[in-house]
């Protein structure tokens, strides 16, 4: 599904690379945690996985296709196979919850009855049907997080990548959100979830991609990345 071979990334203004010699494979339907201390390169890897950045060295294969030399048009089409949940949600505040969820579908083509139904189903799944016509700026942080999750999965992406999805919500909401991700995983979606929360990783023992100083490193048993 997604394969990184000796991937490195160096920002133009910096001398040292933010990532170096990263090798791993995300098989279809897998669930991985992405973790590491601050400044380890998680954000850079997150941006590479979401195709926001392209590697400056090595190869990144998406469905066995090297994305390094693809055109902007091809990259846009590949991004439609990826669902992204940002730590800061990135909802459009002037749109309603339903319109935010419909965005990926409207970008992929005309809005049909089916796509309207998919959005309604997603909102029901995350428990926000009653807020569908409320503007995103008028809902709580937890509700915004669930809207962002609904938006990330409404177009049935092959891979879902989330950055600290439980970082800004209380414990009860965090449990609810993790439940949503594990449910998606059970249905065959590849999930990569970036987190600092070692408790969460211990509670759900999926494989861990652990970064330190821009390189993959084994996670220490008692490491607390916060």
């Amino acid at each position: 599904m997604l394969q990184l071979n000796d991937v490195g990334y160096a920002y133009p203004a910096q001398t040292a690379p933010a990532l170096a010699q990263v090798n791993f494979t995300l098989p279809q339907g897998s669930f991985h945690w992405l973790t590491g201390p601050s400044g380890a390169g998680k954000t850079t890897l997150f941006r590479l996985l979401t195709l926001d950045l392209l590697p400056t060295r090595g190869t990144l294969l998406f469905d066995n296709r090297n994305v390094t030399g693809i055109t902007r048009q091809q990259r846009a089409l590949l991004r439609r196979k990826i669902g992204v949940v940002y730590q800061d949600f990135r909802l459009l505040p002037h749109l309603t919850v339903r319109q935010n969820v419909l965005l990926p579908l409207s970008l992929a083509g005309a809005l049909t009855k089916e796509s309207q139904q998919s959005a309604a189903d997603m909102l029901a799944w995350v428990g926000l049907s009653n807020l569908a016509e409320t503007r995103a700026e008028n809902i709580s942080g937890g509700e915004q997080q669930r809207t962002a999750i609904a938006r990330a999965v409404v177009h049935k992406p092959q891979i879902l990548i989330a950055d600290e999805p439980t970082g800004n919500v209380d414990a009860a909401m965090a449990r609810k959100i993790i439940h949503l991700f594990t449910e998606l995983h059970r249905h065959g979606t590849t999930v990569v979830l970036a987190t600092h929360d070692t408790g969460l990783i211990k509670k759900h023992p999926f494989p861990v991609i652990h970064l330190n100083h821009g390189k993959l490193s084994p996670m220490q048993p008692e490491e607390d990345t916060e």
């Binding site: 970008l107 809005l111 309207q116």
Partner: protein, 285 residues
């Protein structure tokens, strides 16, 4: 039941370039520009008609100046013989009263001047003036015959210069319009940069974003065009109502020029985003 939501309006709602003040000004700017261009085009059209009418009347006309002491009987004889020449449509003497009226603004004491005898000869479009001039000069060897050619050339050149100036001014205004659209689109996209990044991350292609920005620009410039052209038409209609002389020159081609030429700003508004937005997207996202 869910409201239907068409894709373009959805993307327009998301990427709302109106957030930038300069983008909102597009309607007003286009309105003013279309009004000025519309009135300019109509004026140029009317000038062309005035010139064409005048040219037509002058280009088939000879003005014959005979000395003040010319024999009236010989003059009468000339006036009678001229219509017999092939192509002559009219020959008539300009009255002294008319001559004095012409001279009055130029000369203080026009009434006491020895006035020449002036004969106006009109000939048909396909006739040659040479036999007519020969005939006049046989009757009066001292006759001066003016075929208005130098004046026609001088006025023609002036009219062309005026029309060129109008076209040049329109080009400058259209270039300023293009610059304004560049600024408006650039500022609009910069204002909406976070949204732009999100849309790109959600899979928006450059083509879709370019099309959407182009449609937003076109929509605003078309609104400006409608109001600007309507204002120009109203001004011309009012001016024609109060000036019968002007009314006779507000023909269908003039109205067409007033309506069609101001379509140039919306055309530019369609082309500029097509060239600009892909470059901006490559730089910003």
């Amino acid at each position: 039941m869910m409201r239907s939501l068409a894709t373009p309006s959805m993307l327009t709602r998301a990427l709302n370039l109106k957030q930038a003040g300069i983008f909102r000004l597009l309607v007003l700017t286009t309105c003013l520009l279309c009004m000025v261009i519309g009135l300019g085009a109509a004026s140029t059209g009317m000038l062309q008609q005035v010139y064409a009418d005048w040219q037509l009347s002058r280009s088939h006309n000879l003005t014959v100046y005979l000395p003040p002491d010319a024999d009236p009987a010989a003059v009468n004889q000339l006036l009678k013989s001229l219509p017999t020449i092939e192509g002559v449509a009219f020959a008539g003497q300009v009255s002294n009263t008319q001559l004095q009226a012409w001279l009055k603004p130029l000369v203080d004491d026009a009434g006491n001047l020895p006035l020449p005898t002036v004969v106006e000869v009109n000939y048909r479009g396909n006739a040659s003036p040479a036999p007519i001039i020969d005939h006049i000069q046989q009757a009066f060897t001292t006759a001066e015959v003016d075929d208005h050619r130098p004046m026609l050339q001088q006025v023609g050149a002036s009219v062309r210069r005026l029309q060129l100036a109008a076209v040049g001014l329109s080009m400058v205004m259209l270039a300023l319009m293009a610059l304004f659209i560049v600024l408006a689109v650039r500022t609009g996209l910069m204002t909406e940069l976070p949204t732009l990044h999100l849309l790109v991350q959600l899979g928006a292609t450059d083509a879709a974003l370019t099309r959407n920005v182009g449609l937003q620009v076109l929509k605003r410039t078309l609104v400006g065009y409608v109001f600007g052209t309507a204002a120009a038409a109203a001004i011309l209609a009012v001016a024609a109502a109060f000036s019968p002389g002007l009314a006779s020159y507000t023909s269908i081609p003039v109205w067409l020029a007033l309506v069609v030429i101001p379509l140039l700003p919306p055309v530019i508004a369609t082309l500029v985003p097509l060239l600009l937005v892909p470059r901006l997207l490559r730089r910003l996202t």
